[in-house]
């Protein structure tokens, strides 16, 4: 069984806040749910499926959220693999709708790491309970930045990738963010700005790292029949793939991500290939994340990512592959330290023709959203979603 064409994205919403000092996490969840319902032209009581990543709320958080929101659902899923969770959720919603387990599903993401003063990328974080690997990693102070940095360092060593090439990813994102009134960083930056910014974890500079922001977003998905009854442009999910990658028992290889496996699954299901994609949302926790995922998804050969992203190739209207036209996690928003959901949102805006006119891709009928959740340096889940305008 395939999910191709079985489910449509009919409602999206991105919280405008980037600093939620005066709002709770659950309130943010409710705000974004209301926003996506209004966008779809549906009401809360229409929802019969709810997807909320376990890590977005403490304890049995999803149950508390079902209670708090006042939902009556017949299908729930709290799959959590970090920032790419919401890309997996889109695939899982499509599976559930295809199997008749729900007909109108809500996905929410919310968090407020900035208001809480979290040093997301540079502070090692011990899990609440020890993980199998904890004894063999925690003493060495793995943070987020230095884990991705180790992948970047190896990529440079094997393929000759440079800091200037990585910087082009941020430059492209900043060109897009200048048109997004909600973007946390709206200033256009240059390659020199990026490589001249303070070193965080060699070889990643401050401007190689995404923002730390509060807020969230939501997605409403439904059946083909209900989608046709609504007034919004129809965005159909045609392929999805998910693939964890890890240390492989000590056969560590940091030159590729789980996208090497999730991408082909999604392309095969959708019956399309990388060169067909008009717009790509690519998870940009760090510049290296984008470069490596583009290679793994087949937009260029392995090792050629540095050349591929250079000279504005990712800038809408300039290059061959417009990416993250909302400014992405690098400039716009990385709510709750999780960038997967906003990747879907901008892809849907592009397919609807509702992106900012300055960055809207012409005739955008096929888009991809891809993410890496967890850590590129240890274990993570790659997730790919391919969507088509109908």
């Amino acid at each position: 069984m395939s999910i191709k064409g079985k489910a449509y994205i009919v409602g999206i919403y991105e919280h405008p806040t980037r600093l939620a000092t005066d709002r709770t996490v659950m309130q943010l969840h409710a705000d974004v749910a209301a926003g996506a319902l209004a966008d779809a032209g549906l009401t809360k009581n229409d929802i019969d499926g709810y997807f909320c990543a376990a890590g977005d709320m403490a304890g049995l958080g999803q149950l508390s959220m079902v209670d708090y929101l006042g939902l009556k659902t017949r299908h729930i899923d709290s799959t959590d693999v970090g920032g790419s969770s919401y890309l997996l959720h889109v695939g899982h919603v499509a599976e559930a709708i295809a199997a008749g387990k729900c007909s109108i599903a809500l996905i929410t993401l919310a968090g407020r790491p900035r208001a809480e003063g979290m040093a997301t990328g540079t502070q090692p974080r011990a899990p609440e309970r020890p993980m199998p690997e904890s004894g063999f990693e925690l003493p060495y102070a793995p943070a987020t930045a230095n884990m991705y940095a180790m992948a970047a360092m190896r990529h440079m060593h094997e393929f000759g990738t440079t800091s200037e090439q990585l910087a082009w990813v941020k430059v492209a994102a900043s060109h897009h963010a200048q048109h997004n009134p909600h973007a946390m960083l709206k200033d256009v930056v240059t390659v020199e700005d990026v490589v001249g910014s303070p070193m965080i974890a060699d070889p990643l500079h401050r401007l190689d790292c995404c923002v730390i922001s509060d807020g969230g977003g939501a997605i409403i998905m439904t059946t083909p029949e209900i989608a046709k009854s609504l007034k919004r442009p129809r965005v159909k999910v045609i392929g999805a793939g998910e693939a964890p990658k890890h240390q492989m028992g000590g056969k560590v290889d940091l030159t590729y991500s789980g996208g090497r496996w999730s991408g082909p699954l999604a392309f095969a299901e959708g019956g399309v290939k990388p060169s067909d994609i008009k717009y790509a949302s690519i998870y940009d926790s760090f510049t290296i994340t984008v470069l490596m995922q583009l290679e793994d998804l087949g937009f260029c050969e392995k090792g050629q990512g540095g050349r591929f992203v250079s000279d504005g190739n990712l800038i809408s209207g300039v290059g061959k592959l417009p990416f993250n036209t909302d400014g992405g996690g690098l400039c716009n928003n990385h709510p709750s330290n999780r960038g997967g959901l906003t990747k879907v949102l901008e892809a849907v805006r592009q397919l609807r023709g509702e992106a900012h006119p300055a960055v809207q891709v012409k005739n955008c009928d096929l888009a991809l959203a891809h993410g890496t959740g967890g850590s590129l340096g240890t274990r993570h889940a790659g997730a790919t979603v391919i969507m088509e305008r109908e």
Binding site: T122, P124, A126, P130, P132, E133, S134, G135, F136, E137, L138, P139, Y140, A141, P142, A143, A145, N146, M147, A149, M150, A151, A152, M153, R154, H157, P198, M199, I200, A201, D202, P203, L204, Q247, M248, G249, G250, K251, V252, L254, T378
Partner: protein
């Protein structure tokens, strides 16, 4: 200087459990252990009671020579005390996460030969790290 600074970083104590007690007891005696599967012959790290390749439980503790090379690394600059995290490929095969210590952090290179040292943790067993050979 970097060498003196490294020794000031408080090293978090590794959580020890029945699976790993033997590993940390050996660490206290200055030995680095890994596991090798008697069924499929594959060594692995971090050590587990079931082989992550063939899933046999015929896995045996082995002592590593303490020699290896740096697979990759990164110096965390935005920390009270800068430190180098790394993956080191052991001479016996498996690659492990570690720190590179007792050296100029700016001189570390991928491919560099390194040797085992142990550093005290904060209230736990000593932790295996590496320094240029």
């Amino acid at each position: 200087m970097a060498q003196a600074q490294q020794q000031q970083r408080k090293i978090a104590a590794p959580p020890v459990n029945p699976e790993t007690q033997h590993f940390w007891d050996a660490a206290a005696q200055g030995k680095l252990l890994y596991k090798k599967c008697a069924a499929c012959g594959e060594p692995h790290f971090y050590p587990r009671p079931h082989c992550p390749f063939c899933f046999s439980d015929k896995v045996e503790w082995q002592e590593a020579s303490g020699r290896g090379t740096i697979y990759t690394y990164s110096v965390m600059r935005r920390a009270p005390v800068p430190y180098a995290i790394a993956y080191v490929a052991l001479a016996e095969g498996p690659t492990m996460m570690t720190n590179i210590v007792d050296c100029d952090l700016d001189s570390i290179k991928i491919g560099q030969p390194v040797k085992l040292v142990f550093k005290p943790s904060d209230g736990g067993p000593p932790v295996p790290m590496f320094t240029p050979a």
